[in-house]
């Protein structure tokens, strides 16, 4: 009896230790619902392309949100997702010709070294923009084109370099089926998409905001295809739906929550006693007062007498302001900051009103065409407020926030995984599917030296 019990106990225990007796889970079968992802095509701009750290480069493209979505679609069956990938070892190419940024040390005009985004290479991979990839690896499922505005979707010869700088999009030149002829929308239909994601329209305000609202324009809400937001959107969705597939559309984020606009504090003008005296000597006579300590920066404003005033709450300084000039050459104090680095309250209202109108157009169009709506606007608001994901605290702070890349506009890999999840959640809710979400802890945030 004793031996029997002992044997049983040893047998059970050793058996369990060696062979398992592991806790098991049944993985729920994936339901596709009304999603036919045989041919999944993603239409959009920088966000869809996987543009990150100020450039288009291989790793960013691999982590583009539609590529991550396609990997979840693949769990339920075959679906090939072809992207116009950069070379794996390319330094990347940004829209101003620069390479991708990395975190590194840079010395400022005061001789102080600090950690900040620096170019990975002295120049971007300009070559990548001159080679058309369509004949070798096209057509493409990822039709995300950096800098694309929604109002440009049906613009013919959009990749035609002979039209000269500013009149064509070099990112489209490298992937278009015929850069001299086609539009992005034309090329998006080559594969007859059975399912599509549509996330465009951010650049219709962002391009303006990135110029400090000093140049470029906000796309008007109303107008025909190629002119207004509503006409362009309706034309694009009608075209994409003509193949009978379903789709998901994303709303436009409040771009003024991006670190590109929120990182430089508008009241970051620190004055010591001598500087405050100097500033009051210069600006006191026109009614501007400065104190020792924190002050609002001075800016150019042509609506003011003497074309100068201080910033006020609700206004923004752009991240591309030359900080050395601020630190060493009295920019923002004695010399007011030029308007191209500033979003004033009026401009901010203009931008936010446009986004609100765009989003109501998106909602109405989605309803009309029975699309799933991913509330990306809400996602970025949640990020701004800050949230925790599997023990990771995320918010929209620059570098330390954990979700934005080093350009302060686009997301890093982890942010893109969370963005992809927003689309997947909307798809599952609308179309009765249950594609699993992506484990965003498997995707990197910012890399530190």
């Amino acid at each position: 009896m004793k031996n029997l019990l002992l044997k049983i106990s040893i047998l059970v225990t050793t058996g369990c230790i060696i062979s398992g007796c592991q806790p098991e889970f049944t993985e729920p079968a994936i339901k596709k619902g009304n999603v036919d992802a045989t041919v999944f095509v993603a239409i959009g701009d920088d966000f869809t392309a996987g543009y990150t750290d100020g450039a288009l480069y291989f790793e960013g493209q691999k982590n583009s949100f539609p590529n991550l979505i396609s990997m979840q679609f693949k769990l339920a069956g075959d679906s090939n997702f072809v992207q116009p990938l950069m070379n794996e070892n390319s330094v990347g190419i940004g829209n101003s010709g620069k390479s991708k940024s990395v975190l590194g040390y840079a010395t400022d005009c005061l001789g102080a070294s600090s950690l900040k985004p620096i170019p990975y290479s002295s120049t971007g991979d300009l070559n990548a923009l001159t080679i058309n990839l369509f004949p070798t690896i096209g057509p493409f499922n990822n039709m995300g084109v950096p800098d694309l505005k929604l109002s440009e979707l049906n613009k013919l010869a959009y990749g035609n370099s002979t039209l000269g700088n500013g009149n064509y999009n070099p990112f489209f030149s490298r992937m278009a089926s015929d850069p001299q002829v086609t539009s992005v929308l034309d090329d998006a239909t080559i594969l007859f998409p059975t399912f599509f994601s549509f996330f465009a329209g951010t650049n219709d305000v962002l391009a303006y905001a990135l110029k400090g609202a000093a140049s470029n324009n906000i796309t008007p809400s109303n107008g025909g295809a190629g002119i207004g937001f509503d006409g362009s959107l309706d034309n694009a969705i009608t075209t994409l739906k003509s193949f009978g597939g379903n789709g998901v559309i994303g709303t436009i984020p409040d771009i003024l929550d991006f670190p590109f606009f929120t990182t430089i504090p508008i009241d970051g003008l620190a004055l010591d006693s001598a500087s405050a005296t100097l500033m009051n000597a210069i600006y006191g006579p026109i009614g501007m007062n400065f104190q020792i300590g924190k002050n609002y920066f001075t800016i150019e404003d042509t609506t003011q007498p003497f074309n100068v005033r201080t910033l006020k709450p609700g206004e923004f300084i752009l991240l591309n302001i030359p900080l050395d000039s601020v630190k060493c050459f009295k920019l923002g104090s004695v010399y007011p900051i030029p308007n191209r680095y500033i979003i004033t309250e009026t401009e901010a209202n203009e931008i936010r009103n446009a986004i609100t109108t765009y989003n109501s157009i998106i909602q109405a169009t989605a309803q009309q065409h029975n699309l799933a709506v991913a509330d990306i606007h809400q996602f970025f608001k949640k990020l701004k407020a800050g949230f925790v994901y599997n023990g990771i605290s995320l918010n929209s702070s620059f570098v330390s926030g954990g979700a934005f890349s080093l350009d302060g506009i686009h997301l890093n890999a982890r942010g893109n995984a969370l963005l992809a999840n927003e689309f997947l959640k909307a798809i599952n809710a609308k179309f009765g599917s249950n594609f699993p979400l992506i484990d965003a802890t498997k995707y990197k945030g910012v890399t530190f030296p």
Binding site: Q22, V388, N421, D439, G445, F448, P449
Partner: protein, 409 residues
């Protein structure tokens, strides 16, 4: 007789790590484990020093005993959003016990004294590399050893009382990853390590109204384990070294009080049944806090709500005396979790559970007997943690084969 103790102290200094209710470990005697740990009113052996010091004085003989409960735990977690499954590597825990009880003068003496060394709380869990909850926890090792010198006094043939002072010592090692990555693609990580001390008492009353029935009450006090000079070490990219300075930290962990009421009933001489109810003062565990000596904007003191609630455990067991040499035992316990919804963590993926146990004793001769026990626990808990937002289902299997040796003098 007491001279023998110091050497045995050292001999039995095993480590212990495993999980049980919260991080309570109910493995303080092989005979009792095999009966679902219903033991407050039974007089088995010197382990009564733990289960009810009031009953020790009724032990017929002096004895020394030692035991170890080898604990094999396996936990898996399925993320509810991604369906991905993560597993723990299974560190083997070896909670041990040592008890020695002696009559103060001769065997007819009313007073007995003894010492118990046991591991009432502990936890050991190591998650697989790169698991989805790595930023909440990668591994924890919590160890506590209670040393309890005890006096037990038989007031008359029916009533005994006893009490012991508890000197508690322990250690904790906790590791987690930090969500920043270096140029080689490695995540930063933090290791918090410290030793802790505390004190308390264990007291009980034993009442035996007749030959068949006995009743017991015992109370083990809460013991606050304070880590005063812990060591926090951070492996971070060099650019962030100043943000995460290595240095000291302090923390504390309350080990809760346990109030137990139990009975034992002998039936037809060969059978004994026993039942216990534990009331565990888990509500003392309100938060896990780490106070770092050097704070930076990246390294702030942490306050993680735990909000455990007081709970009950119900235990029942039966013993069958086959013959003079062999005793067979079986037991069940139903243990209610102190962990409330929203507070389940990968360090203690606790759940209300039913434990099944069995075992036997074999009396080799008048002096030596061996005990064996086997306990099986199975836990399942689905939760979304309010602090980390880790959401999914934890499943745990625990197998605890245990062996003990009793030497009767």
């Amino acid at each position: 007789m007491m001279k023998i103790l110091p050497s045995l102290f050292l001999t039995f200094c095993f480590l212990s790590d495993l999980m049980a209710q919260g991080f309570q470990v109910n493995l303080q005697g092989q005979k009792q484990q095999a009966m679902g740990s219903a033991a407050c009113a039974t007089i088995q052996d010197a382990s009564s020093l733990f289960y009810n010091p009031g009953s020790t004085c009724f032990l017929p003989k002096n004895s020394i005993m030692a035991g170890v409960s080898t604990t094999f735990g396996r936990t898996a977690f399925q993320d509810s959003a991604t369906n991905s499954i993560s597993r723990t590597e299974s560190p083997v825990g070896t909670p041990f016990t040592f008890y020695s009880a002696f009559a103060v003068k001769d065997s007819s003496s009313r007073m007995k004294m003894g010492i118990g060394i046991y591991t009432p709380f502990g936890s050991g869990i190591k998650w697989e590399d790169g698991w989805t909850g790595r930023f909440a926890l990668t591994s924890i090792k919590l160890l506590s050893i209670f040393i309890q010198p005890t006096f037990s006094y038989r007031i008359n043939d029916k009533i005994g009382i006893g009490a012991g002072f508890i000197f508690a010592t322990g250690s904790v090692t906790l590791k987690k990853d930090i969500p920043v990555i270096d140029a080689d693609g490695n995540y930063a990580n933090a290791t918090l390590q410290g030793s802790a001390n505390g004190s308390g008492f264990n007291a009980g009353i034993y009442y035996k109204p007749n030959n068949k029935l006995s009743l017991g009450l015992s109370y083990r006090s809460q013991v606050n384990m304070n880590v005063d000079n812990g060591k926090a070490e951070f492996q971070v990219p060099s650019a962030l070294a100043a943000n995460f300075p290595n240095g000291a930290f302090s923390s504390s962990l309350p080990l809760p009080s346990v109030f137990t009421a139990g009975f034992a009933l002998t039936l037809k001489e060969k059978f004994m049944i026993a039942g216990d109810i534990n009331y565990v003062g888990w509500s003392a565990y309100k938060a896990l806090e780490f106070d770092y000596e050097k704070n930076t904007p990246s390294l702030i003191d942490t306050h993680s709500e735990r909000n455990y609630k007081n709970t009950f455990a119900f235990r029942a067991g039966v013993q069958y005396k086959k013959d003079e040499k062999i005793f067979l035992r079986g037991g069940l316990s139903y243990v209610i979790t102190p962990v409330q919804p929203g507070y389940v963590t990968p360090e203690t993926p606790d759940a209300t559970r039913l434990n099944i146990a069995g075992g036997f004793s074999y009396i080799i001769n008048k002096k030596i007997a061996v005990d064996a026990s086997f306990t099986y626990q199975r836990l399942k808990r689905a939760d979304t943690n309010l602090e980390t937002q880790l959401s999914g289902t934890f499943k745990t299997f625990v197998y605890i084969p245990g062996f003990g040796l009793v030497y009767t003098l």
